[in-house]
């Protein structure tokens, strides 16, 4: 596959994982990400890998835990309700300082919700997928091409910081087809997995992978050490994108597929003489706080656009210290906002239609 291919987002997740050297996938089917399992079921055997349909999501995430404990790259994928089921496993993986990659192709919620695209797992992904003091890296692609890059990056980041990395997509991105090439990603020097429980061959002590710490002092120190690592991640791994923000008065903040819809609205607003711009966080954790704070010195108002009820609004307010008003427009339950709806909101914020 040297030249460009026309691929579904879900297929690209699978192909990019294989290209990142991942040979183990454990999952359980759920709309709208099942094409990923199907792709890997066909492709993994051809590259000597394993694609296994577990008996449940809980089982799949624990297989990922075991596989990563042995030092192998493994990942799992699901959609919203299935991700909730995985939360216990994710907390155990963090408690064991293991790398892993988790993909969430979001659909409407809560509960069984619906099968159409949504972004209503933002808070779950960025604040608390599982119990305990913790963070993990959350990457939000907006293009099928970007899925290819970020999926490769996810495995590297996971190994580098011994943390789960979540690729947070949505049903629309998973299902849509766009041209994609698997260009070389950022080269990173990765540490050797000296902690892996993969056989000591009488050459070293046993490696034990565990998340149980009976002594509070030891557990506290372990958490403190982990938060030192989080600090490094926040300093080094923030990614974002900007569009026409230089002279923007109204700045949209949106991620994933919604950012692309918002971009169309920004272009339409510019044609009407409204100085609109777009700030797109690519890493949802670490959040681009400094960059938004700097932007809040320049713009007059922020408009958060999401496919949920406004889950990112507070992050923008905190990042900008509420320096400027933050308004919200969103659709939820599987409804995708249109560029026209977003434009209408921009016009309203600009003091009515021009």
């Amino acid at each position: 596959m040297g030249e460009k291919m026309l691929m579904k987002g879900n297929e690209v997740i699978g192909e990019a994982a294989i290209r990142a050297g991942c040979r183990y996938f454990f999952g359980y089917p759920i709309t709208p990400q099942t094409e990923l399992s199907e792709y890997l079921a066909k492709k993994m055997p051809k590259v000597g890998g394993l694609c296994l349909q577990a008996e449940s999501e809980v089982s799949a995430i624990n297989m990922v835990l075991g596989c990563n404990a042995a030092g192998e790259r493994a990942f799992t994928s699901s959609s919203s309700p299935g991700i909730s089921l995985k939360s216990e496993g994710v907390s155990y993986i963090i408690g064991s300082d293991l790398p892993c990659v988790i993909v969430n192709v979001q659909r409407g919620g809560p509960g069984l919700g619906g099968i159409q695209p949504a972004q209503s797992d933002y808070l779950q992904a960025t604040k608390a997928l599982g119990h305990g003091d913790m963070h993990f890296i959350v990457l939000a692609p907006a293009y099928v091409q970007e899925i290819a890059t970020l999926m490769g990056e996810a495995f590297d980041l996971a190994d580098l910081y011994r943390t789960p990395v979540m690729l947070l997509a949505d049903g629309a991105l998973g299902q849509m087809m766009e041209p994609v090439d698997f260009t070389a990603k950022k080269e990173r020097t990765l540490p050797e997995k000296t902690w892996a429980a993969c056989g000591h061959v009488n050459k070293r002590e046993h490696n034990i992978v565990n998340s149980l710490y009976i002594s509070p002092e030891v557990l506290e120190q372990t958490v403190l050490d982990r938060y030192e690592r989080y600090k490094t991640i926040e300093e080094n791994e923030v990614q974002y994108d900007e569009y026409m923000t230089e002279d923007a008065e109204i700045c949209i903040v949106a991620y994933g597929i919604t950012a692309r819809i918002a971009k169309t609205a920004v272009k339409a607003a510019r044609e009407k003489g409204i100085k609109a711009g777009l700030f797109r966080p690519i890493t949802l954790w670490p959040y681009p706080k400094k960059e938004l704070a700097a932007l809040s010195e320049k713009v007059e108002k922020f408009l958060v656009v999401e496919m949920n009820m406004g889950q990112m609004v507070d992050d923008v307010k905190v990042a900008t210290n509420c320096r400027k008003p933050v308004e919200f427009f969103g659709r939820t339950g599987g409804v995708i906002p249109t560029p026209a709806e977003i434009l209408a909101k921009i016009e309203e914020m600009n003091g009515g239609a021009n």
Partner: protein, 218 residues
């Protein structure tokens, strides 16, 4: 193209993402424009988004009867085929049947005898830019798998090779070469290319005029 299709029931099959729905919708519109009484049936039981149902309004406005599963584009995750589908085998409508990719062709097999007694043409839509079917061997396997799954025979091969808006003449020609080789290998005749009108400067004939029927989000 229409004069090559001897039967009134046209089945559009192919691998995932080959562009079946686009070909089906455009073929239905083209036949209607040529004065035919047209029915389009969505038999896709595998794909939850981007379906014939997205175009139902436009199709109905053009007088085309749409047989669409109730669950299509709703939040109901239970694929089913409406009983109304059987009406395709009665009457004399030019009927275009949009089938799900790969394994989705299994939905056809239950109607094998009905298709055979009514007569049908099954068109295999191919896109060389899609993974898992880009090579000739893979394309042949996919065609044979669909025949086995559907218990029907492919009558023609259509080259719908494209990279969306990035399609070039080379893209189409690459697919055409594979389709011709596939035709030689399988004995299934090659019908021609389908190319979007929006892709400028291609200078390649499209067997039916093609507008992009895929729902645009932005």
């Amino acid at each position: 193209m229409l004069n090559k299709l001897k039967e009134r029931i046209i089945i559009i099959c192919g691998h995932y993402g080959a562009g079946k729905t686009n070909v089906a919708v455009n073929l239905a519109l083209f036949a209607a424009e040529k004065g035919k009484k047209v029915t389009i049936a969505d038999l896709d039981v595998v794909n939850p988004y981007f379906r014939t149902a997205d175009n139902a309004k436009e199709l109905r406005e053009k007088g085309i009867r749409c047989i669409i599963p109730q669950y299509a584009n709703t939040n109901v995750d239970i694929p089913s085929i409406p009983a109304e589908f059987l009406s395709v085998f009665h009457g004399d409508d030019f009927s275009v049947i949009d089938v799900g990719g790969d394994d989705g062709a299994i939905a056809l097999s239950v109607y094998k005898e009905k298709f055979e007694s009514s007569g049908y043409e099954m068109l295999y839509v191919y896109n060389a830019c899609r993974p898992l079917t880009a090579e000739l061997d893979e394309a042949e396997q996919s065609l044979r798998d669909i025949e086995a799954m559907s218990r029907l025979k492919v009558g023609y091969i259509i080259n719908n090779t494209n990279l969306g808006e990035e399609t070039t003449a080379e893209t189409v020609k690459k697919g055409e070469e594979i389709c011709k080789a596939l035709s030689e290998r399988t004995g299934v005749p090659f019908l021609g290319n389908t190319v979007f009108k929006t892709v400028k400067g291609l200078d390649i004939d499209s067997v039916i005029p093609m507008d992009n029927a895929t729902k645009q989000l932005f």
